[in-house]
Every structure is written in C-alpha cells, then in structure tokens.
Amino acid sequence: MNVALAPAFPDTTTVVCIFFIFLVPFAGAGLTLINAGLGRSRSAAHLMMSSLCAVSFAALAYFICGFAWQGFMGMPAHVLTVGGKGWNWIAAGPFFLRHLPFDGSPASLAALLGMVSVGLASLIPLGSGADRWRLSATCVSTALLAGWTYPLFAHWVWGGGWLAQLGENFGLGRGFVDAGGASTIQVVGGLTALSIAWILGPRHGKYTLEGMPSAIPGHNSVFVMFGCLLALVGWWGLNSAGAVLLNGMAPGNAVLVAINTTLSAATAALMAAAITQTRFGKPDVSLTANGWIGGLAASSAACAFVRPAAAAAIGILAGMLVTLSVEWFELRMSVDDPGGAISAHAVGGIWGVLAVGLFAHIPAPELNSAGRPTGGGGQWLAQLVGIATLIGFVLPLTYGLNWLLNRIHPQRVAAEGERQGMDLYELGAGAYPEFITHSEEFTQH
C-alpha cells in the first residue's frame, strides 16, 4: 500500500549499517550478565541457559512470522481508511523471509536489525522473572513476544505504520519518532517484564507476612558491572543503526549518536550513585547498574536529534526516575523484579520517548502528499500518543498473552524448584560446581 520502496543505500552506508548491527549482540551479552549477576548463584546457569534459548526462540519466531508482520517502509501492508486517512496497522509480507533480497537493501538490513533487536527485547523479561521462571515457559513467552507483540508495535513505529504517519496524516510533528528502539525494544520488553513479574509473583521469602520486602542481594557484582560496559558497545551499534537505517541520518552522525548515548548512560549512572550515596551512605552497585541501563534505554529515542547537553540532561532524569521507581515497585507495589528490568527498560524508555518531544531538533519539515508541512509543533503530542499506545495497548496485550499461557502452561516453577535452585531443579547441574562440598569419597588425601 505504500507508494515506493525505500531507495537503496550507497555501498559505504550499507557496510556501515551492517557493522553497527553486528555490534548489537554485545548489548544482549551485557544484559545477560547483568541479569545473571543480580540473581542468585543457584539459578545462574539456568538464567544463562534461558537467555540463550530466548534469543534462539526470538530469532526463529521473527524469521517465521515476525518480519512478515513488522515489514518495512514501502513493503505491502494492511491499511484501514477512516475519515479519508489511512491507518497502516500491520504489514502483509510473506512468512519465512520469502521474496526478501539479501543484498544489503534497506529491507534486508531492517530484517537483520529486527532479528537482533527482538533478541535483545526477549532478554529483558528474564531480569524480572529471575529465580522462578520455568525454562519451557520462557521459550513460549519469548515466541509470543517475538512473533506478535514486538513486530506489531515495531511496524507502527519503524515499518511506516500509523504512529509513524501521525505527522503526515494529522500534523503531529514528524509523527512518532524513536531512532534507536526506546519504545519498540526497551518499553515493549520492559512492559513484558512487568507482566511476567505480576504473573509469577514474588520469590519465596521476598516479602514477609506483613508485606515488608527483604533484601535478596545479587550474587556477582563483577558480572553486573562488566555487563554494563559491554552493553554500552551494543547500544552504540543499536542507536547508530536505527538512526542511519530507519531515520535516514548520514553515517557520520553516528559520532553524535555515540556521544549522546555515552553521556546519557554516564549521567544516569552517576545520578543513581549520588542518590544511593545520599540516602544509604554508600553508592549501591545494583541501582547504579540499573541507572546506567536506564540511561542507555532513555538515550535510544532521541540520540540522533539532540545536542550532547540535552542527552546529559535526559540521562540525569533517567537516573533519578530509575532509582526511585525501583524502590517504588519493590516497597510500595510489592513487585519483585530482581534485575530491575521494569524500571530500567520500561520507565527509562518511556522517559526517553517523551524526551524526543521536549528536546529533539528534528530535521526541517517536508511536505506531505497533500503539500502540507509535516514538521512544526505537535511532536510532544505524537510522542504522548505513542506512550499511550504502549501502556494502553501493548501492556494489556502482552499481559493477556502471558496470562493465557500461564493458564495453559504454568510459568512459575514449583516451590521445591525454587527452594533447591533453578540450576539443579531444571538443569541438573549448577553454575559453580566447585563450590559444592563433596563428601569424603570424592576428596584426595
């Protein structure tokens, strides 16, 4: 239904895009280390195994039907016409990536970026479901996320869908803008994490009968901090690939994107450290790591359209929001989120999306098909409509799908499995076997 296929990139742009996309798995590796480090040692191997399975299922589901429903600008789509305006709501591509030329065309690059992005999104709920989410349920839930929820919203934002067309059709700025996936990856993953945390319930022993939370510290802060540094590299690639491939920026703008991404993460982490230092007398490792990831998530939407000072300001507020919301979810709302995934990805990402409307200087407006300028005011309203869609549509959708799955196939491990540890109960072996005290017959004298 769209007018024309996206024009092919020059060779250098194609190569640069491929390089950026190849960096994205570092973000996934970072998140996996963070999730493992913030969980218990007796579930560490299970979490790493779950991460690998989640990425695998995500890639497979995206290959089968995900990209067909996400599509790309210029590819076939289902469009409803209401009041003379087209509402492009889902792509109509063939399953199994059929008819897609794997020649470095923008559509093929979008398919590659989508495959690694959906893998990243699938890792986010593992942080909130740590220590109690069954491996089989993780795989099926990931397939639902990668095969339906993510592609649908990604089509609306990146595939020429109705959110992207809010500017052209309704004069709301340039339409909903998200350069690096703050909404499509981070918030969608974060809201799925919230759904999982609700459905699974808190870990055994997390809350007393009076409802007071008890601290269950992560088992390896070295993993957590190394994961943060690894994630930065992945985010450079993610934000730069999104800016160039999906927003038409010149490859040279990746310098600005990388600077903004780094500044946002840095200020968010420092703000989290400062808040915990002020409140508890010492900086907190896990909250500082959550602040760092929250800053990265917040940077994604506006990274290509703001000056470095604005990126630093976005990070400062992201650090505050993430730190305070972690406590709010745990203390006030009794949501047990061991990895802080809900705050870092959902809260941080929503703030980043809103920040586009507040700080972004998006390139000069163009004329739409009716000769009307598409830029100007209303960008904040377009961003607000996107946020309303995430909370009002994506959250009930992902919650409903996971609730249904839970009815068919219970997602929480049995009480015995939680007591024993996920490693032994579901995998039969622990992550750190050398820590086991062996009986006499296994020791050499």
Binding site: V82, G83, K85, W87, L166, F170, L172, W198, G201, P202, R203, H204, K206, Y207, T208, L209, E210, G211, M212, R332, M333, S334, V335, L381, L384, V385, I387, A388, T389, I391, G392, F393, L395, P396, Y399, G400
Partner: protein, 82 residues
C-alpha cells in the same frame, strides 16, 4: 467496600488488613487501559487543535487510572507467595 479498600490502600496495607482485591479488579484495570487508548486514538482521528489535546490527555488520565487498578490488584493477590 473491598473495591474501595483496594483502590485506597497500598498493597502492603491491604495485605496487613487481610483484604484481597476483588476478582474483577484486574480485568477492570485492563479494560480501562484499553479504553484510555481508544479515547486517545479517537481524539487523534476525529478532533483537531485544543479539543484533540484535551481528549488525548483525558485518555492518558483514564490509562493511569487503569494502571493504578491493575497495580493495586496484583500484589494483594500474590500475597500467598510470601
């Protein structure tokens, strides 16, 4: 009474007082989320200028109300895992 308590008390307070969320609380919250989104989309499609902004904000307000209901419904129901 239980509905009012679920909305006004924090989950921890409700747990202490032995109150559980009504079974329909969660569903009502989810429906409010979807209804708020419907208001937002309808406002974008049918209105312009200040009325559009007002109705979009109203829709977001309905979503926040739904979110509050869903959040307060859940932890009380999950108290059995303590």
């Amino acid at each position: 009474m239980a509905l009012l308590a679920s909305v006004t008390l924090t989950p921890r307070e409700a747990l202490v007082h032995g109150l559980s969320a009504p079974s329909g609380m969660k569903l009502l919250g989810l429906l409010l989320l979807a209804a708020g989104w419907g208001i937002v989309v309808t406002a974008v499609a049918l209105l312009a200028g200040a009325p559009r902004i007002a109705f979009v904000l109203a829709g977001v307000g309905v979503e926040i109300l739904g979110l509050v209901l869903v959040i307060r419904a859940h932890p009380v129901q999950r108290g059995d895992h303590s």
